[in-house]
Symmetry: C2
Subunit: 532 residues, 2 copies
């Protein structure tokens, strides 16, 4: 049984570096590494969804900036598979150390930097991000060096194998891709964790015209390497880390998420009865966050056995799902557990390890594989419109939350695409001030063509095979909050009347009124408009 | 050398039916088949992009409805891979014979029926449509019989092989899928065409959990059958057809499309120089329509050799591309040639046939394969907004044109995604009344996450790796018409100013003004607003 190791020592890091020629690269004084980072550099980090990211060096850099008043003078372009811990990217943002940041983020300061025009950010599908990065699409305008490389990559590892390959920690993300494309590499070996060797399956992605099929047909198929090769000449330092992934405990299941989960369970039972799903369903994908976590918790209590998971991120409730014997296997790119969740993992390591594979995000989120294994996709949006267009990223059309992450890849390519949201959210002055069902989404990340099922605590709308007007009626009737139903129905029926008169009634809208929910919200703190 | 056969005879159809036991199914009096079609039936037809569709039986049904005043009394639900000829779906629409129609269409009457609320239509990604049809997503509410079948399928063939398999004509579309799922099958053998045997590569699609990798890595790989099996007990009739595919000659290249093509050629040259594309590019995909056709014509005059094509539809200009020796191979699901184009094809049949494969649309448009071969996607939208969201389907947000077809699958999954459009289109009163670059697209089919390059006759915007505000500047400066540039820049800068003040400036909008182009167009016949 593995335990979290409490204390470092020279022998500890040496025991994790099986390639002895690399021992000479061990650096104990991290301040020596500061000069490698220059203003304007292109920097990559490993990590995904706040785990498996490097900590010691990013924190040392932040300390250096803070101590020397270098805010805004050491700004770097930061590329990570998804979000990393608040002590790294969010502190960097607070210290004005980030110019560009792609393709996902999480934290108060970084979000504020993006929405204040200080940080240049764009969200991108996560599997495509990895391959576009390799193809040089994010380094087109790099003013120095090769236009196909990163200046420096920092990755967390839990072991370096005898043949000099890297065993990551609790996530894979884009670690394989940045190890290939970085000019210089720093490895943080986290000796507070067990070696994760055997948990990962990493692939060296080939771009067209050299791409080959990913020969995966089941969630537990392996096609890659348990440790990823790295050019030893590129390694400029190996640093010991004992810092844990800085995660928190998610919100517990509440009445709303229980009602959502129950609606989903009832739908699954119906689909099995109709012969459209096998009895053990199809591999589940679940988004990140507390509603998604609670929905998985609800499903784990449902009447389904012998389940599998093909997803991005494994959260705490999956442990219950394993423990009750209903979940057989899970494939992802990241383990994002709370601190007690990680303790559960490490205390029953061999058992859980045999049921989990972590892959490159280019694999976990590949359209090819999501489609082939036939995921059931479950994701939480900000809002859904009456025709089934979904906003996952920008509130009020303009304000970035975190980015779309893998939601687009899963909602587009899964066998069935489900979005779940509370029907309303509170504002400061109105407990139902924001309707999550709106006439026209203020930003669209996923279109009507990609969504099959919409679920709120009010009910479930099955919009498969429905024309837009039919879709709108079922979404409003089944999913909208009772306060908003008559308002939305009036918009729909008036729009239809006007548009049919003008022979443009396929997807009826009144463009002069379509965004009235938002202008009312800005002015009066609620989407409850007095009249159209 | 094959010629179009001018006249039918019993011996002609018999020579195409190599499975002699099926000769007993030949029906010469088509009126016998009318009673098989009932009000409310679920009917499928082969065909894609107006070729390879059945004609004799659909026309006989239309004649029957017209002659007997049955308009609105014999309404069917019609499922075809994409559009078919005007004498079939459009005449059916004119005679009020269509209730539901998925997932694409073309024609004045059918479009009018959809926009007048008479025909229930929804557009859908074309590969997903084929698999969702098999999964029963379009027959959920079928009130009679199995909820996983079509009542009747009609397909065009050019031969029935000795083992009773179907050789289609000029398209594959969803023919393999509907042959599997129809209760009854009618085959129209078109003896005016040569047998197309050897041109097709058809796959029996397996849904999850039984899906396997499509073992295609090159555009000319074959993984399927040249003739598709059909259960002989389901065949209720075999009918001879001598009706040609009812296509027309596309608009010739004009100044605008030449300028667009030239901008694209220059971009390709630059990408090759930068090492991001191989010298022979990557497989080209091209949308349907006259601009796309002209762009391919322009590319065929470009300095590129040894090219390949992985697309949906092969149009006339591809023949020039083959003839000048620059195009080596093309994979698609449909040949949509003009009548002179088909004559060119048939007059040099063996030569062209060796360079073309037609596949199921579930294969030609599969995310897996578009991504693996690494297409260069080229598609024509209705409009693009300043942040790169694309409308391909609904003008003024509400009025359906044809449907998104495969544009979503290609723009999402290709190695690089290019949309090309004139910068403006005329209205009745203003030659530049409609700007194709708008503040906020009135309908969104493809999001900012899917688009790399936008091209108009004005120039090319490379938005890879750009944050929204940067993207907007380059799109407006490089692509908008000079008349609209200052108007759009004012919207952008004012929106940014307001949003930054409110710390919501990631993708700046003014939602109360975002659709003002459209309200102005409705009221004054032009998007040229006097002021914001």
């Amino acid at each position: 049984m593995h335990k979290i190791v409490q204390q470092g020592s020279k022998s500890l890091i040496e025991s994790r570096i099986k390639r002895k020629s690399l021992l000479s690269k061990v650096v104990t004084d991290v301040s020596q590494l500061i000069p490698y980072f220059q203003n304007g550099h292109y920097v990559s980090m490993g990590g995904f969804a706040g785990t498996g990211y490097p900590k010691v060096v990013p924190i040392a850099l932040a300390d250096h900036v803070e101590k020397n008043g270098l805010q805004g003078k050491l700004k770097m372009n930061l590329f990570v598979g998804a979000s990393v811990g608040p002590e790294t990217e969010d502190r960097w943002a607070m210290l004005d150390m980030i110019d560009k940041r792609y393709p996902h983020q999480n934290g108060h300061h970084i979000r504020n930097g993006i929405n204040s025009g200080r940080i240049r950010f764009a969200d991108q599908h996560l599997s495509t991000f990895a391959s576009d990065l390799l193809a040089g699409y994010y380094t087109l305008d790099k003013p120095h060096g090769s236009k196909r490389t990163m200046d420096i990559a920092i990755v967390e590892a839990t072991e370096i194998t005898e043949d000099g390959c890297i065993v990551p920690g609790a996530s894979v993300g884009i670690t394989p891709e940045i190890l290939q494309m970085a000019d210089k590499i720093i490895i943080e070996i986290n000796t507070s964790l067990p070696s994760f060797k055997g948990l990962h399956d990493m692939v060296k992605i080939a771009l067209p015209p050299f791409s080959k099929p990913y020969q995966i047909t089941r969630v537990d198929d392996r096609i890659g390497l348990e440790a990823f090769p790295v050019d030893p000449e590129k390694i400029i330092a190996i640093v010991e880390s004992q810092l844990p992934d800085n995660t928190s405990v998610g919100a517990p299941e509440d009445e709303t998420s229980s009602a959502i989960a129950n609606n989903i369970v009832q739908f699954f039972i119906h689909e099995i009865e109709q012969g459209r799903f096998p009895k053990n369903l199809l591999p589940l994908q679940s988004g990140i966050g507390s509603i998604a976590n609670a929905v998985i918790g609800g499903l784990s209590k449902g009447p389904f056995d012998n389940l599998s998971v093909w997803t991005e991120v494994i959260q705490d409730t999956f442990l219950d799902f394993f423990d009750n014997g209903k979940l057989k296997f899970a494939s992802a790119t990241s383990l994002r557990f709370s601190p007690p969740g990680f303790n559960r993992l490490f205390n029953n390591w061999e058992n859980y390890k045999s049921k989990i594979i972590l892959r490159n995000q280019a694999i976990s989120n590949a359209a090819e594989l999501i489609s082939r294994v036939g995921c059931i996709a479950l994701n939480t949006p900000c809002e859904v419109d009456i025709y089934g267009h979904v906003n996952s990223t920008n509130t009020m059309g303009s304000k970035m939350l975190n980015g779309l992450g893998g939601s687009g890849e899963f909602l587009r390519n899964s066998r069935i695409s489900i979005v779940h949201t509370p029907s309303t959210r509170p504002t400061k002055t109105d407990p139902h001030g924001i309707s999550c069902i709106v006439p026209f989404a203020s930003h669209i990340d996923h279109t009507e063509h990609d969504i099959d099922i919409i679920v709120t605590e009010q009910g479930l709308a099955d919009i498969r095979g429905l024309a837009p007007y039919e879709r709108a009626k079922v979404i409003i009737q089944n999913c909208a909050h009772p306060i908003y139903k008559p308002i939305l129905m009036e918009y729909l029926e008036t729009s239809r009347q006007i548009c049919l008169k003008n022979h443009m009634g396929h997807e009826p809208h009144q463009l002069d009124k379509a965004f009235k929910f938002y202008t009312n919200l800005s002015e009066k703190g609620t989407m409850k408009i007095d009249k159209w």
